[in-house]
């Protein structure tokens, strides 16, 4: 059996696998770039002295905000 012999409909088979590879590559690139962007944004904020209460180890007071402003993160 020749595994490379995809018959008369080879174009449909190759196109299917190409779509899968392209979509997965797109997902990987998006997640990778998004991770870099979020880490950069976090580092920039921390460099300006903005840290979560749980991350603050000095006696410097952190900004006071209302509980409703920090929803969605623990």
């Amino acid at each position: 059996m020749n595994v490379l012999d995809l018959g008369a409909h080879a174009g449909f088979i190759i196109a299917s696998y190409a779509i899968f590879v392209l979509v997965v590559a797109g997902l990987i690139a998006w997640i990778w770039l998004d991770g870099i962007a979020q880490r950069r944004a976090l580092a920039a904020l921390e460099a300006r002295g903005i840290r979560r209460r749980s991350d603050v180890t000095t006696s410097e007071p952190v900004a006071k905000i209302e509980p409703g402003d920090v929803r969605g993160v623990r």
């Binding site: 018959g7 008369a8 449909f12 088979i13 299917s16 899968f20 979509v23 797109g26 006071k64 969605g72």
Partner: protein, 249 residues
């Protein structure tokens, strides 16, 4: 450490860093074995070599429903326990589910043209799968529309749970209606009807695709947690004494 401790976002991010390399290695190994089996699998006596499309079409179809089911379970976590990680899991899963559903529809269309003579028919299975893609896109749009994460989480969770009704419709559409799409061939009461030479590569490819989803989902969840931390810190920065007066000066 109990399993429930990993529900803490900070611990979850640390866990992600440890688990991800192993998951990536497992995913690559499974795809290597699955693709090797796919290459060796014989042509179908009716469909010829086009049956090779099955090895990516079917795993993507399974994942399109599996991802939605995980989002529905996460939505329960959002509504019942109001746990922020539940919404993070649902939000990170939606683009992945949409992508797998798109691949399922696209590869099914490419498989349909040589076998059915058409790229698309308004068949019950195809239409319900298209509805699933539209639902994924609608949920992503709803998250983007509502700025408050808590309000968005609740609204999306309710809509996600309503959409669960589509999953049994997709699964049983080929039994309930006369469709052009073939009936189930793997998960059947009387066992699979696929020859073992095609079944094992299909199952390995499905496992590989599931591991791929788990890997990408963990990484997307980590990004979402970081995104929410960034948002929180920006709000803290805006609320700092003097920030408003400096801007107005």
């Amino acid at each position: 450490m109990a399993l429930v401790d990993f529900a803490n976002p900070t611990r979850f991010v640390a866990l992600t860093a440890r688990v991800t390399p192993w998951l990536i290695a497992l995913t690559i190994a499974l795809f290597a074995v699955g693709l090797y089996g796919t290459a060796l699998a014989p042509d179908d006596y009716q469909q010829g070599a086009t049956v090779k499309i099955m090895f990516i079409h079917v795993p993507c179809a399974w994942l399109s429903m599996f991802v939605y089911a995980t989002m529905a379970i996460s939505s329960l976590g959002t509504l019942v326990w109001r746990h922020p990680l539940a919404d993070v899991a649902a939000r990170a899963g939606a683009p992945l589910g949409a992508a797998f559903t798109f691949v399922c529809l696209a590869t099914g269309s490419l498989w349909g043209k040589p076998m059915w003579g058409t790229y698309w028919v308004w068949d019950a299975r195809l239409t319900s799968e298209l509805v699933l893609l539209i639902m994924y896109l609608g949920l992503i749009a709803l998250w983007q529309t509502i700025e408050d994460p808590l309000k968005a989480a609740r609204a999306v969770a309710v809509l996600t749970l309503v959409g669960v009704i589509n999953l049994p419709i997709i699964k049983f559409s080929v039994d309930w209606w006369n469709t052009l799409h073939q009936p189930a061939a793997v998960f059947r009461m009387d066992g699979p009807t696929i020859d073992p030479s095609m079944l094992w590569p299909l199952l390995v490819m499905a496992l590989a695709a599931t591991c791929l989803f788990l890997t990408l989902h963990l990484l997307a969840m980590r990004n979402e947690i970081l995104r929410r931390r960034v948002r929180t810190l920006r709000l803290m920065e805006a609320a700092r004494p003097g920030v408003g007066s400096e801007r107005s000066a």
